[in-house]
């Protein structure tokens, strides 16, 4: 078995993804079937955000990857030719 930090980080990732999956499933699938005056709706943003937030996150990820590639390519440029 892996030790120490590896186990901690690994199980942390598992816990985080379980939490995210549960919250998102409740938001997208369960909430429409719950009466609109139930208290649980206070813990969730309006429905549109369930599509907007992942979309923005994906865009941000693509931006980060693109920036990284651009920076690395810029740093490795040689005068007159690109290797």
């Amino acid at each position: 078995m892996a030790t120490g930090a590896d186990q901690f980080v690994g199980m942390g990732l598992v816990g985080f993804s379980l939490l995210l999956f549960t919250y998102y499933t409740l938001w997208v699938i369960i909430l429409p079937f719950v009466d609109s005056d139930h208290l649980i709706h206070n813990y969730f943003l309006p429905r549109e955000y369930s599509v907007i937030l992942p979309g923005v996150a994906a865009l941000f990820l693509v931006l980060c990857v693109g920036t990284f590639i651009a920076v690395v390519t810029w740093r490795n440029r040689k005068p007159k030719k690109v290797e």
Binding site: M1, G10, L13, S17
Partner: protein
């Protein structure tokens, strides 16, 4: 039929079904609750797949066996290689 064609066919069938429900193209007049659940489905499936991937990676990181001997051997080999290259004139 190639695997690619099979996948494309399956994905387009599901996509058409989703489009029919979300945009009510056949005027089925389903109860609004089902339309509410259907329209975020593509994003939902993507997020669910992302969560599954993250959980799998995390779990495998946590359960991977440490290989003490292999690690030591690898470190020794790296040192040896660096020495060898330095002697041959490579500046590190």
């Amino acid at each position: 039929m190639t695997k690619l064609l099979e996948w494309l066919l399956g994905v387009s069938l599901i996509g058409v079904a989703w489009g029919l429900v979300t945009f009510d193209l056949l005027d089925l007049r389903l109860p609004p609750v089902y339309r509410e659940v259907a329209w975020p489905m593509p994003v939902y499936l993507l997020v669910a797949f992302g969560c599954y991937s993250l959980a799998t990676v995390g779990f495998r990181v946590a359960t991977f066996n440490d290989c003490e001997d292999a690690a030591k051997e690898l470190q020794a080999q790296i040192k040896e290689a660096k020495e060898d290259l330095r002697k041959k004139g490579l500046k590190m």
